[in-house]
Amino acid sequence: MQDFLELAVSATASGCIYGLMALAYLLMIRPTGIINFAVGEWAMVAAFGGHLLLSRWEWPYAAGMAVVILFMAILGSTTERMTVRPLVERGAPLLAPILALLGVLVVTREVISVSFPPDPMPVPFPFDIGRLELGPIGGSYQSFFIITVTALVFIGAWLFFEKTLWGKSFEAVALNRRAAALMGINLSRVTTLSFAGGAAVAGLAGLLVSPNVSAHYLMGVPLAIQGFTALVIGGVGRVEGAILGGLVLAFAEQLTSRYAPIPSGFAQGVPLVFLMIFLLVRPTGLLKVRA
């Protein structure tokens, strides 16, 4: 039982990372319909940024984190302006920006690969390595930090969509672009904001996960796939779906790994089989879109 509680903390922390990646996708998909697989590489850029600012130049954690996230937001909006905007304005089919962003994925990864040595780089923790015990539940400081930050982000995102005017305009654009434009919503501003937000959230995920796994230039694609799987499971319609999908995926992965009587190697197939089943059986995800 002790094992299970311990695992629950670890799975929750992993689920938060997946959930943040799913949220990043969601922020961009909702208003534009564009699936941006480059979110994984964005997380990687933030991780390397964290290494540079926090490890090499030894900035205080909060300052370093804030600067990296700000940088990511700028990177996201620049990407949008340079690769997505021209296509959308041209009326290109939806597939075009998705593919262009695949190209951006490769370019981003190679730029990082050129700029840093090939070995994985360390990224420091905000708090020392240690355990926190809350009654029967125990886990590392970093796990609780991840969970807390993610919770804050999701609450913020939920409030954004539900309560603010900007959030409502995102929804409006998601439902009907033309109507939204007619109502005076600035489409291009919404798109830029969505990409900036997506990049910032992906960057946050990268910063949170990299102290554990280190920053290395192949970390992007697995994160992108994990985030996407979480999104499919949870459903694109609602913000809560992202975190739900992330948690379901992480728990499925880790519980199978721990308790299922199958050889360890096959346990890697679990998330993939999960994804395939979900896509074929319930493509809209667990949570229904709000009417």
């Binding site: 990372i17 997946y18 360390p122 796994v213 697995p222 992965e253 360890s264």
Partner: protein, 375 residues
């Protein structure tokens, strides 16, 4: 007339001295997953060639290195081997991934061109294909586990766990580990795999803990995933010792796993107290201004082994080189004190089974040698 003759003689002797170089091919990885290991090894090769050429070359001729990048793609690797052979190399050195080295073998076997890997440790490289032109002087996975076990013998383990990642080499080393452990009568009570891209190793470590082993043998070769394993180990407060493959001898763990690896023992082919090692480090630092890692030593030994074989062959005829290589008896930088590279009885694995050392991480640095050899 005399002047004319002298000039002619000078021209002839100049052209004789500026004779053809001896071409040696190197297939490395500059962009793919093997880059962190291939790059330093290649640098060691380049340093070795400079040194050899400065001292007069081999058989009075300079060595010319033809370096190709296979991007960790085995099918391109095979094509590059052909390219090098067409360009007239007499020997190919493989410092990329084990499957790439394997794929190159199909070509070198067909073209009867000598090939060697100074670094790859997969056991199947000399067993899957019967290629008399291929030699492996990297420390085999089976040698690594034998050395680790010899060190741990005093502790009389009966039940142990093995953990690795899902990379090709990680799986090969784990297989070697398990085979040897089982032959020694030790029960492997847990056998776990961390997938590339995982965010935690907690479930696998919990499963291991539940099986109550007396030690863990780490066969993984992916740095990020190994770091996850160490973290889960610390988080769970597990106490049984970790014994690792030679992957932990790569110095990156001193930075990226700081605070996590003290007390972890690992096998290494690098004894910092060895005279040859000290000489190598000094010479490398003098020539390049940087400190070498143990990975550089593999490349350095590799090129010297090749040069030594060519010298003994007395010619650049591939068959003579092959015969000479098989007769190798050379002491290099890698390996325990007194180790010599030899290929006994027609086998093509040159790293002495007793040539590894067991070291331990102390104060976040690679520390002293605890044990030598597999006895």
């Amino acid at each position: 007339m005399r002047k004319w003759l002298a000039a002619l003689l000078a021209a002839v002797s100049a052209s004789v001295l500026a004779q053809e170089t001896i071409k040696i091919g190197v297939i490395t990885d500059r962009v793919g997953v093997s880059k962190p290991y291939s790059e330093p090894a290649t640098e060691g090769v380049i340093f070795g060639v400079d040194e050899i050429n400065r001292k007069g070359g081999v058989l009075g001729r300079r060595i010319e290195l033809l370096i190709e990048d296979d991007q960790s793609r085995p099918d391109i690797s095979a094509a590059l081997a052909r390219k090098l052979i067409d360009q007239g190399v007499v020997f190919i050195m493989s410092v990329s991934l084990s499957p790439a080295t394997q794929q190159q073998q199909t070509v070198t076997m067909e073209a009867k061109t000598p090939q060697m890997t100074p670094m790859n440790s997969a056991d199947y490289l000399t067993t899957q294909l019967d290629n008399p032109y291929f030699w492996q002087t990297g420390p085999l996975g089976s040698v690594q586990i034998a050395t680790l076990l010899a060190h741990a013998r005093t502790k009389n383990f009966r039940k142990v766990a093995v953990i690795t990642d899902n990379s090709d080499l990680g799986q090969a080393i784990a297989k070697a580990f398990k085979g040897t452990l089982e032959k020694a009568g030790i029960q492997v009570v847990a056998d776990e795999v961390i997938a590339r891209g995982a965010t935690t190793a907690m479930p696998q470590m919990q499963k291991i803990r539940a099986a109550q082993p007396e030690a863990i043998f780490l066969a993984g070769v992916l740095t990020a995933e190994n770091v996850l394993i160490f973290r889960a180990y610390r988080e769970l407060g597990v106490k049984f010792p970790i014994h690792s493959s030679y992957n932990l001898s790569v110095p990156i763990y001193e930075t990226v796993a700081k605070g996590l690896v003290n007390g972890v023992t690992f096998v290494d082919a690098y004894d910092p107290e060895k005279a040859e090692v000290k000489a190598f480090e000094a010479a490398y630092k003098k020539a390049t201004g940087k400190d070498p890692q143990n990975l550089h030593g593999y490349g350095y030994d590799g090129i010297n082994l090749i040069a030594d074989a060519i010298r003994r062959a007395g010619s650049t005829d591939k068959e003579k080189i092959r015969a000479a290589m098989q007769e190798t008896d050379y002491a290099g930088v890698m390996g325990a004190k007194g180790m010599r590279y030899r290929f006994p009885a027609g086998k093509r694995v040159g790293f002495d089974p007793n040539g590894m050392v067991v070291r331990v991480y102390e104060k976040d640095k690679q520390g002293r040698v605890l044990h030598v050899g597999a006895k």
